[in-house]
């Protein structure tokens, strides 16, 4: 589905990504973990097309998408969420989802019918909100909803793109225990819609969800494999897991 080979990106002297290769196959959740500053967000941002890599190739749905802009990649079915919620603050929850549908349907250049009265768009958006449990909050302005609700809305927007792959950058960042538990359930169900590349610091969630795990340290991939193999990998323990838990 998604195949990234040898992605490299430097910011001045910092090699944020050094020959990173990761693939995503149908039906899986592939977790990308690593300490702060390892280059996970940099990786996601390049795959999504918001940052140009220095070198490396990205294939998605059988096509080389390296030359495509972020918007084209999204229309091809690549749905990313942001580590720090990135929403349209003055819009309502529903409008944020409707906007994503305009993108998917390629309908942003329509000048006549009022969008707010389009029942079909509203219904589709409500379905996406229902999947994340926000359907009763659709009228709220985004600037007035809670942090947890914003995390959920990010996922509802991704769902509205009817994606072929999810790229989720720390969807649980800043959630309390209950919120995290709920989100684990939701993420678990996402893989039936499309495979998920999941960047996450919450190790309980990662080991509960992931079919495969890749470990990034200082811009380099040090291991990729099944959760059990990663858990017992010496290099990973030394570089990363060891710091957090025995």
């Amino acid at each position: 589905m998604l195949e990234v080979v040898g992605l490299t990106k430097s910011f001045g002297a910092v090699r944020a990504n050094d020959e990173v290769s990761i693939d995503l196959v149908t039906g899986e959740i592939h977790a990308l973990i690593g300490p702060n500053g390892a280059g996970k967000s940099t990786f996601i941002t390049q795959v999504a097309g918001d940052l140009a890599p220095d070198s490396g190739s990205i294939r998605f749905r059988g096509r080389d998408i390296g030359h495509m802009r972020a918007a084209e990649r999204a229309r091809l079915g690549m749905a990313r969420t942001f580590q720090i919620s990135s929403l349209i603050g003055e819009f309502t929850v529903l409008e944020n989802v409707v906007l994503a549908q305009l993108g998917r349907l390629g309908e942003s250049m329509r000048f006549f019918a009022p969008v707010a009265r389009d029942q079909e768009l509203r219904n589709l958006a409500q379905e996406c909100l229902a999947r994340v449990g926000l359907e009763s909050r659709h009228r709220e302005r985004v600037s007035e909803i809670s942090h947890g609700e914003r995390r959920l809305l990010e996922i509802a927007i991704a769902l509205a793109l009817e994606p072929a792959a999810f790229l989720l950058d720390e969807p649980m960042a800043g959630l309390d225990q209950e919120g995290s538990r709920m989100l684990v359930g939701l993420l678990d169900s996402l893989r039936q819609t499309a495979p998920v590349l999941l960047v996450e610091h919450d190790m309980d969630a990662v080991f509960a969800l992931a079919d495969r795990i890749s470990v990034l340290v200082d811009g380099r991939l040090i291991a990729t494999g099944q959760p059990d193999a990663i858990r017992s990998d010496d290099a990973v323990r030394a570089a990363y897991l060891g710091m957090e838990q025995p």
Binding site: D50, A70, A74, R80, S86, E90, L99, R104, F111
Partner: protein
Amino acid sequence: MTPRIASAAVALLLLAVPLAGTVMDEPWLITLATRVAILGMAGVGLNLVLGYGGMVSLGHAAYFGIGGYVAGVLAHHALEGDPVLLWPVMLGGTDSMIVIWLVAIVSGALLALLIGCLSLRTSGVYFIMITLAFAQMIYYFTISWPAYGGEDGLPIYLRNSLFGLDTMDPMTFFLIVFAVLVVVICLVSMVVRARFGLALNAVRQNETRVRSVGIGGFRVRLVAFVMSGAITALAGALFVDLNRFVSPSMLSWHTSGEIMVFVILGGVARLWGPIAGAALYVFLEQVLGSMTDHWQFWVGLLLIVVVLHARGGIMGFASGQRSDDG
């Protein structure tokens, strides 16, 4: 007051002033109201990019001016009876308002397309400076182009014609302008409520998010910019018909600044905001201008108050709402 009522109040006030002018036999009031309607229309054009799209163009005098010169040059040639162009096609002048409006709209749109393509890749201060620079280029070009009066400008003697109406009659001309203004505002209202408007509003707030859902922000901004240029050019053509005179001053950066002041005073992203802003500006110009030479100082002070304390401008103040949609 709901936003709808505030808008209706502005429209009615704009109609009431020339009626009062007729009743009291003070035709200058009619001319003043016509000026407000036209300047406001130029602001409606800018509002589309500044208010809804968040693009701070300090070069809208360029579109106002090109519309003005379209009207002036076509009317001039119609009067002289010589063609505007011999090659590649022969083009004559005209005194038909409809034709002039159409040519002004197309010219404004094309100029905005050109300037937009080159400037919309930048943002913030760079965008402000680039739009200003383009407008100044055209300003100096008209000054140094002797064929149409250069610095002195070009008089057109008679207003252009429309359906055999007596366009020299102030009230008739006002009603023409008012009708055009209402059509323009209805079109803008439709566009900003449509799917495109949602995308444009979103681009202003968070372009990264817009990209990530598959919408090209540049295209959205460019289309808004082109529509904006077309509207402001139409206002420019009407302005020249009002004054029966076109000069490079229409293109100076003062004009760009004034159009921006109308939008900000009236309330950004509000359909009738620029009309309210232009009305207040012209009112202050008349009232304060008769008392002091430094009236613009007071306008400046007012502007600062609005920017710091009442971002919704007059319309926001009157309706108590943060946007036209409530």
